[in-house]
Amino acid sequence: MGLGFALGIYLPIAEISVNVFVLFFMGAAVGFLSGMFGVGGGFLITPLLIFYNIPPAVAVATGANQVIASSFSGALTHFKRGTLDVKLGSLLVVGGIAGAAVGIYVFVLLRELGQLDLIVSLLYVVFLSTVGGLMLYESLQAMRRTRAGQLSNLKKPGQHNWVHRLPFKMRFRASKIYVSIIPVLVLGGAIGFLSSIMGVGGGFIMVPAMIYLLKVPTNVVIGTSLYQIVFVTAFTTVMQATTNQSVDIVLAMLLMTGGVIGAQYGARIGQKLRGEQLRALLAMLVLAVGLRLAIELFVTPDDVYSISIALATRVAQ
């Protein structure tokens, strides 16, 4: 990279030249949103990278890598405040690592079959439209309540559900819950699976699942979720690096630097603005990204044929 072309940088793994500032601002914008709403942002970064012509395999693997940075600082804060259930988090990590290992295997298989790009897009369309739709609905409800002058009190989660009738119960002191380890492992596994295939932390599924399924108190949910995300995305990153060689360090550094800075400002602004409108805005953004990905699935491609290097057939299995 010469000084005259300081704007352009060649990504060694993605194997394309990109504009440094575009990626830095992409990281900063997503970091800003994640700071404002307390979400990881992986579910926005990966589709944005795909829109920017980064190969989906690289976007997913690098997405997982950049999630570590924001989750690590968040988890550290919660650990110091004591709002982190290490025992529950560690059990979620165990499930998460198993799920991520399965996910990586499926990822390799899909890549060999030439279906990875499609499945990644489909998963994003499903998750982004579901999460975006629910968020939009919830924030519109909240706005209506505020306008009607009611206090928007969150519905207290019910006392017991089917989850509490499962065997192998364990006591988690920090969370003040006594729950079977089966749903904990399954939840961790599902998030780990998504983390490796979609390049997300999975907080947007983990947080509601912990609140509504496991009845974990809200104050320890975020910290415990971040704790699990750090370990699972770290595991995913190493696995992606060793099996697919698709982690782009240069790309990850650009995104992380932007992301860390953006998150600080996002957090400050988020405290001053009204929650419902912000959530409605984020919901619309999430829906727009999902819609854009969905449209691409239906648009007739320029060329129905494509050629790529055949991946070395893995005989070892």
Partner: protein, 264 residues
């Protein structure tokens, strides 16, 4: 992509003695030689593609045939052989999905050709077919998987050169072999921005009156240099360490962010 880059000029290693010995001989005594002044080209990450100039010599040529312009030369530069998959998208429930695919083995990853004239003016298609010369004559060997019908094999085989030409990894430049004197010629080949690294083979084919006389070849190693390529190599050769380092970088970045912004 189209940023101009300085042409790499490779000089021939010709000895003066060969010129001195050049003389009129009856029969097919013509010889063709190409030589490269270097056997390795290092490409840096800013590489946007360039022209590669190869010089060569035609010796023992018949001056009469030469004056009539009936000697033709084709020079190719062929990249390392790899296996490729060609896929076709079909519509399922409105969504475009990669459906049928055919794998091919030992396909040159890149192929650049320069010739004195259009190939069809040099010799008959049959001769080019026998020599496997030209993007449409390379032998695209499908890996049989027992699924593809012979028709779809034919259809997919036709797509290989088209897709490769579209990616600029294959290219043909008729008219880009020029005689500089009665013996010396210059071929201009294209090295695309995405030229594969590895051992490339340069070949010169000599034709007289539409007949193939002989060929000669030499090899060229293309390597990538620079920090970006070292990162690429690290990711492939030391993937575990690379992955751990990626995690370490992320943790440090997250931690630094906290340190920097905690003050205010």
């Amino acid at each position: 992509m189209n940023a101009p880059a300085a042409a790499l000029i490779l000089f021939i290693a010709l000895t003066a003695g060969q010129y001195a010995r050049a003389q009129q001989l009856p029969g097919n005594k013509e010889t063709v030689e190409i030589g490269l002044s270097t056997d390795t080209i290092a490409i840096t990450s800013g590489f946007r593609g360039t022209d590669l100039t190869v010089f060569g010599a035609l010796d023992n040529a018949d001056p009469l045939i030469q004056r009539q312009g009936r000697y033709d030369i084709v020079v190719i530069l062929q990249g390392p052989e790899r296996d490729f998959v060609v896929r076709r998208k079909d519509r399922f429930f409105g969504i475009w999905v990669n459906a049928e695919s055919v794998s091919f083995q030992h396909i040159p990853a890149s192929y650049s050709l320069a010739s004195t004239r259009n190939l069809q003016d040099i010799a008959t298609p049959k001769i080019f077919g026998q020599l496997s010369l030209g993007v449409n004559n390379i032998f695209y060997e499908p890996i049989p998987d027992g699924f593809g019908s012979s028709e779809s094999l034919k259809e997919f085989t036709k797509e290989v050169p088209r897709l490769k030409l579209k990616q600029r990894l294959y290219n043909q430049r008729p008219g880009d072999v020029q005689f500089l004197s009665s013996t010396l010629f210059r071929a201009t080949l294209s090295l695309p921005a995405n030229v594969p690294v590895g051992k490339h083979i340069a070949r010169a084919y000599l034709f007289r009156n539409g007949e193939f006389l002989r060929e000669s070849s030499t090899s060229l190693n293309i390597v990538k240099a620079g920090l970006e390529f070292r990162i690429y190599r690290a990711a492939n050769q030391y993937s575990l360490l690379y992955g751990l380092f990626a995690v370490f970088l992320a943790v440090v970045t997250g931690w630094m962010g906290r340190l920097v912004f905690r003050k205010d």
